[in-house]
Symmetry: C2
Subunit: 316 residues, 2 copies
């Protein structure tokens, strides 16, 4: 599928960091940066933009903050050929802690919010626009949002200056038909805006649903190396790049980065397709219970987890 409007956003460090509190060393982040640059990926999301007062550096790594000095250490002084993005959560970043674009290596700030936070998200995004950034709003967990509430959020977003709005399948609950329907709704309710997609892989559908999104006209595509990300992880970047026919994309640098930096992390953290994540996905629930189960000493007791989540009824 070759469509020049398509932009690919790598979320390896940002979403992968949800599994290890962003404790990636510089070699990891440098490799992702170099690989994505060489592969022709459009954006690399290097972490979350948070105020230093919101979290302790004793607990979380540098990519929870995206301080300018940390970013500069990764990208060096050479020409930056890939755009950098950071995600901002409502309430975790003070406006005065956001530098002006002219003083930052970041190009884009993506504001993540739940539907009831849409107004606050628009306000934060407008602030970022006024400081010179590209912005998106990523409306999370849309699989749990009521129809009326969603329409209201989309109507608010349509009146905003935010140019890009994301469909986010936080729980990995959607089938391709859901993506088609939501893409249509977002495009109808948000005339003139660009739509993005961020999928989770609980049902092994993150890549397939991203393809469905492309077919439905969605142009901003999130993915991560080998799918690294929270719980079941994301759409694997290497699959997406191999699928897209734009000749600017290269797969090999991604394979190389997977070998060098991602596979070693697989020994330490369990993202990907595991039964507990499958169960929360099918039940359209937050993966936190599955993550807790995976971190416990009964990781492979998957029937127990199933029973706990369903009380032996719903899915039985």
């Amino acid at each position: 599928m070759f469509r020049p409007e398509i932009k690919v956003i790598d979320c390896s460090v940002r979403d992968g960091g949800l599994m290890n509190k962003w404790q990636f060393d510089d070699a990891f982040v440098c490799k992702v940066y170099t690989a994505c640059t060489e592969a022709g990926v459009d954006y690399m999301e290097i972490g979350y933009l948070s105020s230093e007062t919101a979290f302790s550096r004793d607990e979380v790594g540098p990519w929870k903050f995206c301080a300018e000095a940390d970013i500069r250490r990764i990208i060096g002084n050479g020409e930056k050929k890939i755009k950098l993005s950071a995600m901002a959560d409502i309430g975790r970043i003070e406006y005065h802690d956001i530098p002006h674009k002219s003083e930052s290596a970041l190009d884009m700030i993506r504001v993540a919010c739940y539907a009831h936070q849409t107004d606050a998200a628009i306000d934060l995004a407008h602030h970022c626009i006024d400081k010179g950034y590209e912005t998106t709003i990523n409306l999370m967990a849309v699989s749990t949002v009521g129809l009326r509430e969603l329409d209201e959020a989309l109507d608010d977003l349509s009146k905003s200056r935010v140019p890009i709005v994301y469909v986010v399948d936080s729980f990995g609950a959607f089938y391709s038909e859901d993506i088609d329907l939501l893409a249509k709704k977002y495009m109808e309710r948000l005339p003139g805006k660009t739509i993005g997609i961020h999928c989770h892989n609980n049902q092994q559908l993150a890549f397939a649903n991203t393809i469905s999104a492309i077919i439905s006209g969605i142009n901003y595509l999130d993915a991560s190396l080998y799918g690294i990300g929270r719980g079941a992880g994301n759409c694997p970047l290497e699959l997406l790049i191999a699928f897209l026919k734009n000749p600017k994309f290269k797969v090999r640098p991604l394979i190389e980065a997977i070998e060098a930096e991602i596979l070693p992390w697989q020994e330490k953290i369990d993202w990907g397709y595991y039964i507990p994540y499958m169960v929360t996905g099918v039940l359209n629930q937050h993966p936190r219970t599955a993550m807790a189960h995976m971190e416990s000493d009964k990781k492979n007791k998957v029937t127990q987890f199933f029973d706990q989540m369903t009380n032996s009824t719903e899915l039985e």
Copy 2:
């Protein structure tokens, strides 16, 4: 998706056996049998039907032969509530070694063939029909078959008495659009016949492509527990059953069987999404090179495998 015509075929033992020469112990096969029965799965494919002269029992386990005594040991004397299937490869089974249906616990024989073997496959399938079995023909590796050759094979199949013909994505190379197109072609060229789908998961699309097949009107659906199968494996049965809305299906017995018998095998054999399988899938090639790489001591040297397969050109 509730459509009474849909039949689900578990291939855990038969396709999974391609990874361990069918060396599953009886406890494994019993558990798959019980779980599939309790889950409401329509067929369990218990192995290959081969002549004892074609392979040595010193090298391959009992499920390469599906001898009546072996099957009876698994199913016991109780009422059999699930249909049993065996796959037959052209040239590996002598006609006189196929028992009459009245002397066999098998209900269905599925003949696997490449396009150039279609005539031989029809002949074998007719022989099985005449002995009282349900039959299918599974046309393998259709992603590599030329248009004219495929049309000829389908025209031959349309004239046969074989009621069910499978689209088989042996290499895991297809996207959902390919499945849509092939489903349409098979249905046009095979009026009155039922179409089946067997997907491989090289690009994490086996489940998604099976859903596409359902939407396109395909009714015989292959899957396996946790996707166990050759190379990247198959469509995960637990995902498919959770997706299908027919109330006869239950997920829990499948989760239980995965915990008891499948997860332990994951320590010993590497099916699933790995970069070497992804590479052969994207390149539309047989997984044998990837399997050899995965079995070597350089399993994680995925860049080397990529270079070897592409000569640093095709996918670069």
